[in-house]
Amino acid sequence: MSFEEKNRLNEDEQIELALRSFRDSVHAWSEQEFSKARTIRRSRWDAFWRVLANPVLGWTLASALVVTSVGVPVTVHHQRELVAARNAQMLRQQLLEKQAAQQEAVAMSDDELLSHVDSDVAQAAPDAMEPLASLMSDSSSQ
């Protein structure tokens, strides 16, 4: 084996050794770092998501959401229907009252007209009968 070859082999050996040391160093370092006690900072959101991860709470919240999303619109719709029915009844009532008042007014005017006609008929006498009427009134006064 020539000197150059020997030298090259020696160099390769040295590099191999250096790389092995490097690898061992990184492994030792990472092991040491990994086994160190670490403080984990948790944000408020972490706590929130952890609480939500509880299946019982999750189901409860989901049920509440479903009940609310269905129940609220149904209740609102029911309330609106009740108010509309009440308003319609009030309008009907008002209409009936108005009709009754109108009928009453019409009835009163008919009576007045009849009495007016009666009085006209009772007092008025044709011109030809006027002397007789005056006679009747004279004799009744005597």
């Binding site: 160099e11 040295q14 590099i15 050794l17 250096a18 790389l19 040391s21 490097f22 690898r23 061992d24 160093s25 990184v26 492994h27 030792a28 370092w29 990472s30 092991e31 040491q32 770092e33 990994f34």
Partner: protein, 119 residues
């Protein structure tokens, strides 16, 4: 029997890799100090002289690694720290085997030059 042993070794390798993955994540945002990094050597049974030599070599390799391009560094670390095969590296970082070999070769030239020049 041999294949059982192979499976056991691979499982153990995977386990350590995943542990080291945590370490890489932890140190990815911090620059590695070559001086600090060279302190981490398993004590072994080597003499203080050998320890000092190894420490020096580790420091030199770290210095070279820091000077490599990102891709060269990745390939170098996967090959020489994670002990991955060329085809595994190629698959992991999405490069062809030829490109991985080229990156590794360039990185090794620099390591060789640096370590050779120091002797």
């Amino acid at each position: 029997m041999t294949w059982l042993l192979r499976i056991a070794i691979n499982l153990q390798k995977d386990h350590w890799r995943s542990r080291r993955m945590q370490f890489w994540k932890l140190t990815s945002n911090n620059a590695v100090d070559a001086e600090d990094a060279s302190h981490w050597l398993p004590s072994g049974e080597s003499s203080p002289e050998q320890q000092a030599l190894a420490k020096d070599q580790v420091r030199v390799v770290w210095k070279v690694v820091k000077g490599l391009s990102e891709r060269q560094r990745t390939v170098f670390m996967l090959r020489h720290v994670e002990e991955m095969e060329i085809h595994e590296i190629a698959k992991t970082i999405g490069l062809s085997e030829g490109t991985v070999k080229a990156h590794l070769s360039r990185a090794m030239v620099r390591v060789r030059a640096e370590l050779g020049g120091r002797r």
